[in-house]
């Protein structure tokens, strides 16, 4: 049978010889995963720094001289772009995708290890080009993370000289690198699972990452197309997106282009992007909840189907970002309907998480705290999504802080909580040591309460009509003075949350050396990555024989067992000989 031949072959194992091939130019999925994570977190720190600067301006306008309207827009833009693409997408798919897919599927590595390595280095190049834009004349682009033309490439927008060019180039590089990685994730899940690991026995983490990768492979081309066309408008003077327009008093050479076309293309990527970030989070959080509540995930099949349904639906809702763009109003009706339909599979998932916790043996470990925090926050952000999905409610709330609050809750804080929970959860497997418990709890509570202190009041500011993206409010009659006090309070909370992330990083570094030794399976979990012969797993993951899977990944609290869990690869009584005999005949 061909699949054993693929999964078992040693030819592609490219054993690393030197320090360089082992840790730098490595083709090992685990090393690549950690490279992705470290790079993403490093650039994420930059994005956190930018948000703190933004908050300083909003909370204490006029206090800090180094912030002016121009660089404020640059900070806003780079914060958004880095967080959405270079941090979350890269961390979930490049980081967790790389680490978890081969281990959870029982493979020795990705199917194309060389391509996988190239994918990371191309990603790093994209990050470096992005960082370079801070140091070019004029600085990075200040067009907003949506990069809407015509203003994105007109003189007068910060970074119109170099920034926007580097931004688009960096995105194109990122997409090329991601496509290499994405091909790997999809083909590995489909081709390299070990014996007995049927699709419906895969942990939900793999399902989430897998589906998100498919979404990304289909949606990122839309960003690529718009980046190419905008670069041509910018440098060759074509008019794909650029209408006839005056710039600084002079007519430009453009005419007849359609900014609306860009918005369609951008959001055709942009909305699936939300689920590219959310689906891995959904999958991972399902596993965290099940493992730390010692209970099988409620409604496994429904969870898988819901992930697939959300994935498909996410492609037909993009124009709900464009209710005020001047598109045909009848579109709004259609897109409001599809948007609200997404609430059904999403609600199924939320109910199933809650029902998994219900009467479970809940252990409030650090990963569990983050998982429960996620469920809270996701419900919160989801409910405000119902407001914004309706055209008539969205129109007055459009471009206010309500929108900022909504999307930070639903695709900022929620996935980040899962990222943190997941790192605490798999840290013992990656390093062989437990992360520090006290620091972890401190990190959780500061982050959880802090983000609520930041984003809950923003809903209120948005309902007041406070517009987003403004450098300063000035004297506006509908903005009461109390808004300023609230903004100051939000900014102080944001300082605490930023500091909490430093505690997190310190914990990760400190525990490398001083953490409690973890053993192979500290959470007593069933899925394959916890059953490796060594911790951290060595190159090739499994020793001489690949694991064989006999059951799904959620066998917790099973009656009649000594332990309260049964690993996926533990043979049922009396079946060992049969299974091994079968294997030899293959």
């Amino acid at each position: 049978m061909s699949y054993v031949a693929i999964a078992d072959q040693h030819v592609h194992l490219h054993d690393p010889q030197t320090f360089i091939t082992k840790y730098v130019w490595s083709q090992d999925h685990k090393v690549i995963a950690i490279q992705y994570m470290v790079t993403a977190m490093a650039i994420g720190l930059v994005a956190i720094g930018l948000s703190v600067i933004m908050r300083l301006q909003l909370g204490f306008p006029g206090t800090f001289n180094f912030i002016n309207p121009s660089n404020y827009y640059q900070f806003v833009t780079m914060h958004g772009m880095i967080m959405v693409i270079y941090l979350l997408t890269a961390l979930f798919l490049g980081g967790f995708g790389n680490y978890l897919i081969p281990l959870m599927c029982g493979a020795r590595d990705m199917v194309f290890p060389y391509l996988n390595m190239v994918s990371y280095w191309v990603y790093l190049l994209a990050v470096l080009v992005l960082v370079a834009s801070f140091f070019v004349p004029g600085g990075p682009t200040g067009a907003g993370w949506t990069l809407y033309p015509p203003q994105a490439i007109l003189a007068g927008t910060p970074g119109a000289d170099w920034g926007i060019t580097l931004m688009l180039v960096s995105l194109v590089i990122f997409i090329i690198g991601f496509t290499m990685g994405g091909l790997n994730y999809v083909v590995t899940v489909l081709q390299a699972r070990c014996r007995g690991m049927t699709l419906m026995r895969m942990p939900l983490s793999v399902w989430g990452i897998f589906t998100a990768t498919i979404l990304a492979l289909l949606a990122f081309p839309a960003l690529l197309v718009s980046a190419i066309m905008m670069s041509l408008d910018n440098h060759l003077g074509t008019s794909f997106f650029m209408p006839a327009i005056m710039s600084l008093g002079d007519p430009t050479e453009h005419s007849g282009g359609s900014p609306l076309l860009f918005q369609h293309l951008f959001w055709f990527f942009g909305h699936p992007e939300v689920y590219i970030v959310a689906l891995p989070a959904f999958g991972i959080v399902s596993d965290l909840i099940s493992i730390h509540a010692r209970r099988h995930i409620f409604g496994y099949r429904m969870m898988v189907w819901a992930i697939l349904a959300i994935g498909v639906l996410s492609f037909v809702v993009w124009a709900h970002h464009m209710y005020v763009s001047g598109m045909n109003p009848y579109f709004g009706f259609f897109f409001a309907t599809t948007t609200l339909i997404i609430a059904i599979p999403t609600a199924i998932k939320v109910y199933n998480w809650v029902l998994t916790l219900w009467r479970g043996d809940v252990h409030l470990t650090i990963p569990m705290l983050f998982a429960i925090g996620f469920v809270f926050t996701f419900i919160n952000g989801g409910l405000t999504g119902l407001f914004l999905g309706n055209v008539t409610v969205d129109v007055p709330l459009s471009d206010t802080f309500f929108v900022v609050a909504h999307f930070h809750m639903v695709m900022g804080v929620s996935p980040v909580l899962v990222v943190c929970g997941a790192i605490y959860h798999w840290y013992p497997k990656m390093t062989g040591r437990m992360a520090n418990e006290a620091l972890g709890r401190l990190h959780f509570w500061l982050t959880f309460i802090g983000t609520y202190a930041i984003f809950l009041p923003m809903h209120y500011l948005g309902i007041l009509g406070l517009p987003r993206r403004y450098f300063a409010m000035g004297d506006t009659y509908f903005v009461p003075d109390s808004v300023q006090s609230m903004n100051a309070a939000i900014s102080i909370a944001s300082l605490f949350v930023a500091a909490a992330q430093l505690i997190f990083l310190f914990n990760l570094v400190w525990s490398l050396k001083y953490g409690k030794p973890a053993g192979g399976n500290p959470w007593r979990a069933t899925s394959l990555e916890w059953q490796t012969p060594e911790t951290p797993p060595r190159h090739g993951n499994w020793g001489p024989e690949l694991p064989v899977v006999y059951r799904w990944a959620y066998e917790y609290g099973a009656p009649g067992n000594k332990e309260d869990f049964v690993p996926q690869n533990q043979p049922p009584d009396g079946h060992t000989a049969v299974a091994l005999g079968h294997r030899r005949n293959v």
């Binding site: 199917v111 091909l183 049927t198 006999y550 059951r551």
Partner: protein, 231 residues
């Protein structure tokens, strides 16, 4: 945007159907123990990873071209601009060499197909000839496309002049880039085949995958060509 929704729906449909054929209704919690026929069915017979990788890549490329075509149709659509006087789409007179190029690309695909068939019959020499002819014809196609660009430039159709021109250059250019990427892999395959530096199974697979990709790019070209002609 209807087109791209339809394309993605199609791709998603293929994907979900493909998954469904892998028994997404299994009650995993009831099915413990060793594998029987049903588990084996769930595993599916697996094609080579490279083949699967190529198909996934072609899915990505399909999404890419479908999006470009969507943008093309939307930009061309008379509904975009209400005022007739402001409509700026000026169709170009496509150079006749495009017909010649199309024939060359079709012949290139045919040669690749012959190479693939020869590989299946384990006739390495004819396969190598077919492969080289196929690649050479693809190169000839690219050169022909370059001439088409030159002719358009000479006739005054600059990219910045009109969206119809700009789309012509972009669509042909991107198709050419994809073909160029294919030629890189083709070069590797030819050198492997000449030196015999891989097993017969691997060689056959390489030639076959090149052929599949060539056919795919031929189809993409025919669609693009048709769309460029209807302006």
């Amino acid at each position: 945007m209807n087109l791209i929704v339809a394309t993605v729906a199609l791709l998603a449909g293929i994907f979900v159907w493909w998954l469904a054929a892998r028994r997404l209704t299994t009650r995993s919690w009831e099915r413990q123990g060793s594998f029987d026929g049903r588990d084996a069915a769930g595993m599916g017979a697996r094609p080579a990873p490279a083949r699967m990788g190529l198909w996934v890549f072609m899915g990505v490329a399909t999404s890419f071209f479908a999006l470009f075509i969507t943008a093309y149709l939307m930009r061309m659509s008379p509904h975009l601009v209400q005022d007739v006087a402001l409509r700026d789409w000026r169709p170009i007179a496509e150079p006749g060499i495009l017909w010649f190029n199309t024939v060359v690309l079709v012949l290139s695909s045919v040669a690749m197909q012959l190479a693939s068939v020869a590989m299946r019959r384990e006739q390495v020499e004819p396969a190598r000839s077919g492969l080289i002819v196929g690649g050479a014809l693809a190169l000839a196609f690219l050169v022909g496309q370059w001439f088409a660009w030159q002719q358009l430039q000479a006739a005054g159709y600059y990219a910045a002049g009109n969206p119809a021109n700009a789309f012509f250059y972009v669509l042909t250019g991107l198709h050419g880039l994809h073909l160029l990427g294919g030629l890189v892999v083709w070069g590797r395959t030819v050198s492997r085949l000449s030196r015999g530096s891989a097993g017969p199974g691997t060689l056959r697979l390489s030639v076959e995958l090149c052929t599949v990709y060539w056919h795919y790019l031929l189809v993409v070209w025919l669609v693009l060509f048709g769309l460029l002609m209807i302006t």
